[in-house]
């Protein structure tokens, strides 16, 4: 058989967990091979084994039929294996060329021959149609171009097998199409590609074969042409799943959140939200669709008081809350499930109980005259842990010891339990497994049904289409469309998100 890569019965353990158990992956020359699994299933671990960042406890790796021992990324490089990591491995203050040659620099009399390197990068870029500027600094170029730099980095090293870890996560639907064209042209040049993903549609669209991992265990390999999305989903999750959240039709009532002609600057003081208008009513879930970097993050932070509103107004229950402190806004009825739960939502070194008290510790009965009442805090924690099905050995366990899904449940319990009028959920399901995702979607719908306003931000269009009662599209700091999920498609949203069509634009200009 003409396999370029064979990973046979791989087992990789970390203290306390088995990340890969008996996984076999065989990649043919010139194919696009999908590696499918839920978040945390062990895909990245397996690829890091192949790339030499981890050593497997059991199993063997063969390259073109030869048994090899890959102990570090240099060996992987020498064997023609290159990897684009989900989080780009680029040195921000360096130029494109410096990043590409790093570790295998061309020299002349011991000095880096930067001219020759730049020329070579330019040639490679032209040959594969990657359109990168060899002299630009990484910090000045777009995410899409950074990804192409990563691909160039591998081509520069003569990689034949390219591992791409969740490459489309950061791209727009249009950029994704361009990206697929690039990888197809790479395959035409004789390269083989391993695409790590949990997006079933992408697999159906471009991949030849697909290997599935579930909870660290290899499930098997299928030909994509002989399978269906439903079947892949069942393989991945281990049971049949419906991607449809059960919910009744909603009848929105009073306006809870009103954002009027708001302008916000980003951290570098560049305007990113430019006269934005938005309303969210009680009894409805409004989903914000948009490409990262179009002002949605800043908008949410401004609503929550975490970022300064330069001009315009925000009203919560018809009361102005513009530029109040986060705590004042919280007390007026806002709950916020932040984008990055570990960075913004939790103090990981605190026990679960102290995280549950994070928004209420200063109020009675949890403290009085600045003295904490741990009895009351523990009572609250026990109740929330039970009601929200947080799986933890104890409320006194360090929060960092919990799984991602359970950490998110701690946040949701804490925020929802305060009976807020407005619930902002920013990427609430990112990185979670299907079970946790279903639970969270249900909770959002429950909150809506209790008469609350829910504002959902997600970069997964599937999630937006599935959960929202109404979708607004944000582009370049403005809402450019206001749609019903049943009346639109992913393609239309994609175009709107890229700023191509302003039809149906509601509430702006």
């Amino acid at each position: 058989m003409e396999y370029v890569i064979e990973m046979l019965n791989i087992r990789k353990e970390f203290p306390g967990i088995v990340a890969n158990d008996n996984i076999t992956l065989q990649v043919k020359k010139g194919e696009i091979h999908a590696l499918l699994g839920e978040n945390g299933a062990g895909k990245s671990t397996l690829m890091n084994v192949l790339f030499g960042l981890y050593q497997p406890e059991k199993g063997e790796i063969k390259i073109k039929g030869q048994k090899v021992n890959i102990t570090n990324p240099n060996i992987a490089n020498d064997l023609g294996i290159g990897m684009v990591h989900q989080h780009f491995m680029l040195v921000e203050p360096f130029t494109v060329t410096q990043n590409i040659i790093l570790g295998s620099e061309p020299t002349k009399y011991g000095q880096i021959n930067i001219k020759a390197a730049e020329k070579e990068v330019q040639e490679l870029s032209d040959r594969y149609g990657l359109r990168v500027d060899p002299k630009a600094k990484i910090r000045d170029i777009s995410v899409g171009m950074q990804q192409r730099v990563e691909i160039l980095k591998m081509l520069y090293r003569g990689a034949d097998v390219l591992i791409l870890d969740e490459p489309t996560a950061v791209l727009t639907p249009q950029e994704i199409n361009e990206f697929f064209e690039i990888i197809e042209s790479l395959v035409d040049e004789g390269k083989s590609i391993i695409l790590i993903t949990h997006k079933l549609k992408e697999i159906m669209q471009v991949c030849d074969r697909c290997t599935v991992i579930r909870k660290g265990v290899g499930i098997g390999t299928v030909n994509v042409s002989e399978t269906t999305v439903e079947q892949l989903a069942t393989f991945m999750v281990g049971r049949s799943v419906s991607f449809k959240t059960e919910k009744e039709k909603s009848i929105p009532t009073d306006v809870v959140l009103k954002v009027e002609n708001v302008h916000i600057n980003d951290n570098r003081n560049i305007p990113v939200v430019k006269g934005l208008n938005l309303e969210v009513r009680a009894n409805e879930i409004v989903g914000i669709a948009g490409i990262d970097g179009n002002g949605q993050t800043e908008l949410i932070e401004a609503i929550a008081g975490l970022k300064k509103t330069e001009s315009g107004s925000v009203y919560l229950n018809n009361e102005p809350v513009t530029n109040l402190s986060p705590r004042e806004i919280t007390e007026k009825g806002l709950a916020h499930i932040p984008q990055d739960r570990q960075k913004f939502g939790l103090v990981l070194d605190f026990p679960v109980s102290e995280n549950i008290a994070l928004q209420t510790y200063y109020q009675e009965p949890y403290s009085k005259n600045k003295i904490l009442n741990y009895e009351k805090i523990d009572e609250l924690s026990e109740r929330i842990v039970k009601e929200y099905d947080v799986r933890t050995p104890s409320i006194h366990t360090k929060t960092s010891a919990l799984s991602g899904g359970n950490q998110q449940k701690v946040i949701i319990g804490r925020e929802v339990d305060r009976s807020p009028d407005l619930l902002i959920a920013a990427q609430p399901t990112r990185g979670l497994d299907v079970g946790a995702i279903e639970f969270i979607h249900q909770k959002l719908v429950e909150e809506r049904d209790k008469g609350r306003a829910v504002l959902l931000l997600s970069f997964e269009l599937d999630e937006i289409l599935d959960v929202s009662d109404r979708i607004v599209v944000i582009f370049d700091g403005q809402i450019v469309a206001d749609l019903k999920p049943e009346e639109t498609t992913e393609q239309e949203l994609g175009l709107l998100m890229a700023g191509n069509d302003k039809k149906k634009a509601g509430g702006t200009n």
């Binding site: 975490l306 103090v347 605190f350 102290e354 928004q359 510790y361 904490l372």
Partner: protein
């Protein structure tokens, strides 16, 4: 193995390794380690005089240890305790020499002003950290030198006319006690130890029982999440730094009002601030841990002075031992790893 047990084992093992290293050095240079350590023990606890001197040394160590530990809890590294001690010392002596008042006003006032002085110069790095994100380690190091040179200049040009040391403080501002001195064969022990223990109690209470401590710990672990939860991160950083500086300033007043009763031109640093870092680290940044670590380091430092006379060993050996202890506490990752390794093999 539980985390708690690790937290107790790591300092114990570090101290053990430090003492072993000291023993090996003594062996290399032809000393008998047992004799050396016996001399050290005697020099620290051998009779009432030595015990008194040890307590005297432990007193400022507790306070600088608390200072560093408190800042650590907020995620800040206060290397400036050294400078804050000097400033507190000067402030205490200044009040002690220039004001006339009955004791119940004079003494507390002198200590209060010392704490304030420490707090004020800790405020600047705190403010720069909170508002501009400037790393406090470098700023506090720079402030150590600014404090050192400024204080010397003030002693020479303001408090005296080009003299090397200030006058003695008034008896009404003094922490020293005839009774304690007689009891300990005229050691320099003073009532400051009570102040230090009280300060430890206060730190414990603030950190574990109050919303202030809750916020400071939260900010120390995760500033972003604290901000998202509505806490004022800047305020907490500045507050932690100011309280830390106050503890260090108070440590300075122990020297000024207790041990020495005046202040001399400082050729270099007292070492109390840097030793405070060791104390805080070994004490795992808890109040009780700081007291225990301060006792250990105080005993080592005072006991060391007896080593040259009784065993011929240069007292600097203790600095080497302390350095090793710091290394191993800081490298707790390695100690954990070794313990786990042993456990695995034992199975």
């Amino acid at each position: 193995m539980s985390n708690r047990l690790f937290n107790i084992l790591v300092p114990l093992i570090s101290v053990f390794i430090g003492l072993m290293a000291g023993a090996i050095i003594m062996l290399i240079y032809g000393y008998n380690p047992l004799e050396g350590y016996l001399a050290l023990w005697k020099g620290a606890f051998g009779d009432l005089y030595f015990i008194g001197e040890t307590i005297r040394q432990v007193t400022p160590y507790i306070l600088t240890g608390l200072a560093v530990a408190f800042a650590f809890r907020a995620g800040l590294f206060n290397i400036g305790a050294e400078g804050q001690v000097i400033v507190g010392w000067l402030a205490a002596v200044w009040v002690g020499t220039t004001i006339e008042a009955p004791m119940f006003i004079h003494l507390p006032l002198a200590m209060l002003v010392a704490a304030l002085a420490g707090a004020v110069i800790a405020f600047v790095p705190g403010y720069l950290k909170a508002k501009l994100g400037v790393h406090e380690v470098i700023v506090t190091i720079m402030f150590n030198y600014i404090a050192l040179y400024s204080v010397n200049s003030i002693i020479r040009n303001v408090l005296t006319e080009h003299a090397d040391k200030t006058e003695k403080i008034a008896p009404t501002a003094s922490l020293s006690s005839e009774w304690l001195a007689t009891l300990t064969m005229y050691s320099r022990v003073h009532y400051g130890i009570l102040i230090a223990l009280l300060a430890a109690l206060i730190m414990w209470f603030i950190i574990t029982k109050t919303t202030i401590g809750y916020e400071i710990r939260s900010v120390g672990f995760n500033q972003n999440a604290s901000r998202y939860a509505g806490m004022n991160v800047s305020k907490n950083i500045i507050l932690a730094m100011v309280i830390s500086g106050a503890f260090a300033g108070l440590a300075g007043s122990m020297e000024g009002l207790g041990t020495f009763g005046n202040m001399s031109i400082q050729g270099g640093f007292s070492g109390l601030g840097f030793d405070g870092i060791a104390v805080a680290l070994l004490g795992a940044n808890t109040a009780l841990g700081v007291i225990l670590a301060a006792i250990l380091f105080g005993a080592l430092k005072v006991g060391a002075l007896n080593m040259p006379t009784e065993a011929g060993v240069p007292s600097e050996l203790v600095d080497v031992i302390i350095a090793f202890i710091i290394f191993f506490v800081a490298s707790s990752y390695m100690i954990r790893w070794i313990i786990l390794r042993f456990k695995k093999e034992a199975k």
